[in-house]
Amino acid sequence: MYFKLKIWRQKSPEDKGGFQSYELDDVSPDMSFLEMIDVLNESLERKGGEPVHFDHDCREGICGTCGMFINGRPHGPQRGIATCQLHMRSFNDGDTITIEPWRARSFPVIKDLVVDRSAFDRIIQAGGFVSVSTGGVPDANEIPISTSIANEAMDAASCIGCGACVAACKNASAMLFVAAKISQLALLPQGKIEAKTRAENMVEQMDKEGFGTCTNTEACEAECPKEIGLVHIARMNREYYFAKQSSESLSEREKVHEG
């Protein structure tokens, strides 16, 4: 197969960056999208040029490291997969493919297609955990959990933290990512105890990081490689509203009373 590639090149965070065009021939339909970029990079390097930098690791859709904005869509044209799971057979011979990094204020570009997603880590640090230390916990079977609850928590927990939801959203909102964690832990009895403070703290951090607000365009759900559903955003909103009303953080409760 033959492709024309338009790829975003940006030397450093300070560099303005711009598109560069490349042509690639003899691409096998069995190649993954990233293997296609590997081939391009090999040829660039042989000629002494710098390879196109991109993030990747597991190459099987689970680590959440990869992420390219392909022809205007995060992770490319196919639903329910990450960039590394995309294969060239999803394209037509002769296509022009445009490849950009995630674009969002809270995900600054480091180089070419590599962005800084550490904002996600800071949101988890704000409360995406159950406060238990190692040891001294009850037997794993002490608290039964219905399969439907466990399944729904698992659906939410499948988030790979790739950031496609942010990249897909015209407001660059991180709601789906944040909701997935809040929802997972709110569903499970182990996470219920801290559900309120968790929702408050994570949402507060999300705002601090400069992610946009959610205006229900639903683009995130459509582009999420793990098909995390909007139901989790609804659950998070409930948790958050409830938390604000009966906040366990006293200063927060005063705010609600005042306003």
Binding site: E45, D57, T134, G135, I145
Partner: protein
């Protein structure tokens, strides 16, 4: 050098309890005076960092990914073992211990393995408390499956994403400690050297992968939890960036490297599709519970999965069921892999390359219905289809063995300390628990056992004897190590030859796979050694690395790692040469039974081969730790 594994006295089942009582403790108020560096945020590293921070130690945690949540552990699919005996099917700590020792073909330490089994149950408790959504039964209790040849159901799982869920649990624990200020996290930072002062590990030199800055960090102890070295083979199921550099640099600073030739080849991976192949994808072993493995009785060139459907029963050879009637498709990994290779060597392999066998679900789908299969393996089937464009609900899957896990690693004693004082190795990066072959679902168990339940105890014993004083990073040993790192990077950048890193890495991988892979023999190994040396020389003469050190530079990162793979690859070959027996994943063609099974030679090779680096281009020194078996009787493994 005399190796002391520091195995505690007393009966097997009491060793750990006694040891925990006997070891020294650090007073709670004094813990914050100690700094510990943890390299790696996989299951072993994240669980260790979090647990040690909870105790009050100051932790610095490093990983090369952009977030600790992305460590290679995330990719584990199948599950994690624990001897809970929730299924009432006769499991116990002793049975898990016994299975693991036997599965490892009697090349691991009894005491370590027993402890692993003993703490396994606590791991499940811990993970559930963190909110890990394990699979459950209708009554709300945890579900188990049998996995990887075990005859009890002791494997806990979270769909096909167990590693992800366990890692996210450990990541949440470390995140909590980052928020508490007890862990300082350094993502996109790679350790490139270990600093040893007066025989004690006192810090590391790292490179900031974004800016290229080389920097030293000082501490009272260093923990390596840096994963395995399967990527020596270029193609493996490991994540692309998994590498051996941290362990290898520690080795060159004096840490012994144990059993480097013990690598695990996993039988159920998606076969190579072409030259462009960058990594191999594992299809979870759990598929062998319901899939039947076969090849045609008579070789058919280029047989496709679509055509296979029409091959009548009597022309199929279900070779594992035929050769191992009692275990059938569930024989251990090494046995399953070797048999698949044998079939392909006989010319009965299938697919375009002839390097594949079928894994067929037709019978199970007919018996249990499509829904049932979809529930159990839905995501795996989708993944398979995504990659190969074949639909396994309609046609059999094609699979072939691939490098998957490395049992070898840094030598550690019972306390998980290497022979360098204050340097610990956890998880896949040590050699300790899996002998010559690892059983399914036991790496996750080991990583978390090491991090949550072993190191928090054993490190105290060491630190209790340490002064609080910190060594400043302008100390000579740090400066020398930094210079060492900088020189090497400069050397890599200035070669300016013609071949790319990947090009070299591929060639190295092929040599290793052909001669030090599923089957090994003296002649092949000797040849491979010459080839690796030749290629390494060429690497240092003809490598091309573009860009500079002062920026994010993918090719430079890789070059650094591949340079170490060359040296480690050579040691793997030496180790395979030295071990003239077959055991577990190490199959020496010269040592097999009449039926073609691996033949151990216990009176000569019941030892751990620990290698000592003696200097550049010098042969490494082999040091043996004799293995003593007081509780199990060594038998020839039989899965007939």
């Amino acid at each position: 050098m005399n190796l002391d594994a520091k195995i505690p006295e007393g009966p097997l089942v009491e060793k750990w309890t006694r040891h925990k009582f006997n070891i020294k403790l650090v007073n709670p108020a004094n813990k914050r005076k100690y700094d510990i560096i943890v390299i790696g945020t996989g299951l072993a590293g994240a669980s260790a960092a979090a647990s040690l921070a909870e105790l009050g130690y100051n932790i610095k945690s490093f990983c090369f990914q952009d977030s600790p949540r992305r460590a290679h552990s995330i990719a584990a699919q199948g599950g994690i073992n624990a001897s809970k005996n929730y299924q009432n099917d006769g499991d116990s700590d002793y049975r898990l211990f016994y299975d693991t020792i036997k599965g490892g073909d009697y090349r691991s330490r009894e005491a370590n393995v027993y402890r692993l089994a003993e703490v396994s149950s606590s791991i499940i408790d811990q993970c559930v408390a963190q909110g890990v959504p394990f699979a459950r039964e209708y009554g709300g209790l945890l579900d188990n499956r049998s996995f990887g040849g075990a005859q009890v159901s002791r494997t806990f799982y979270a769909r096909g994403q167990t590693g992800q869920q366990l890692l996210l649990g450990a990541y949440s624990a470390i995140s909590r400690q980052i928020a508490n200020g007890m862990v300082q996290i350094f993502p996109r930072t790679e350790m490139l050297d270990l600093v040893v002062v007066d025989g004690q590990a006192r810090g590391v030199v790292v490179r900031d992968l974004v800016t290229g800055k080389i920097e030293s960090h000082s501490s009272h102890a260093v923990i390596l939890a840096t994963g395995g070295y399967g990527n020596v083979f270029y193609l493996s199921t490991n994540a692309m960036a998994s590498n051996a550099t941290a362990a290898w640099r520690a080795h060159k600073r004096g840490a012994l490297f144990a059993n480097p030739c013990f690598t695990q080849i996993h039988p159920t991976c998606i076969p190579v599709s072409g030259e462009h192949q960058s990594k191999l994808t594992l299809m979870s072993e759990s598929l062998r519970n319901d899939g039947r493995i076969w090849v045609p009785k008579k070789g058919i060139k280029g047989l496709t999965a679509k055509d296979a459907v029409h091959i009548p029963e009597e022309e199929r050879d279900y070779f594992l069921e035929r050769r191992y009637p009692s275990f059938g498709n569930l024989v251990p990994r090494d046995v399953a892999s070797r048999n698949a290779k044998m079939m392909c060597d006989e010319g009965r392999g299938v697919g375009a390359t002839g390097l594949a066998v079928f894994l067929d679900f037709a019978d199970t789908i007919q018996r249990d219905g499509r829904d049932m299969i979809e529930q159990k393996y839905g995501n795996l089937f989708d993944m398979y289809k995504q990659i190969t464009a074949d639909d396994p609900y309609d046609v059999p899957m094609m699979i072939y063995p691939a490098v998957h896990y490395t049992m070898g690693g840094l030598w550690v004693d019972y306390n998980l300390m290497t022979n360098i004082n204050g340097l610990y190795a956890l998880g896949e990066c040590n050699f300790s628990d899996h002998g010559a072959n690892r059983l399914g679902a036991s790496a996750l168990m080991q990583g978390l056992a090491d991090g949550y339940f072993v190191i928090p105890y054993t490190i105290g014993d060491y630190l209790a004897g340490m002064p609080y004083e910190k060594i400043p990073v302008d100390y000579e040993a740090f400066q020398l190590a930094e210079k060492n790192v900088k020189d090497r990077i400069e050397n890599l950048l200035k070669i300016n030859g013609n071949r790319t890193v990947d090009d070299f890495h591929k060639e190295l991988g092929k040599i290793m796979w052909d001669y030090c892979g599923m089957a090994r023999n003296e002649e092949g190994l000797r040849h491979a050694k010459q080839e690796v040396i030749r290629l390494r020389d060429e690497f240092w003469k003809d490598l091309k690395v573009t860009g500079t050190n002062d920026e994010l530079n993918m090719s430079l990162e890789k070059a650094n790692r591949v340079a170490d793979f060359f040296e480690l690859g050579e040691l793997m070959i030496d180790d395979a040469l030295q071990r003239r027996e077959s055991c577990g994943g190490h199959f020496r063609e010269e040592s097999q039974t009449e039926e073609g099974e691996a033949l151990r030679i216990d009176d000569e090779f019941s030892f751990v081969a620990a290698w000592n680096f003696t200097g550049k281009d010098q042969p490494e020194e082999l040091i043996k730790e004799e293995l003593v078996f007081e509780n199990v009787k060594l038998t020839q493994r039989s899965y007939k």
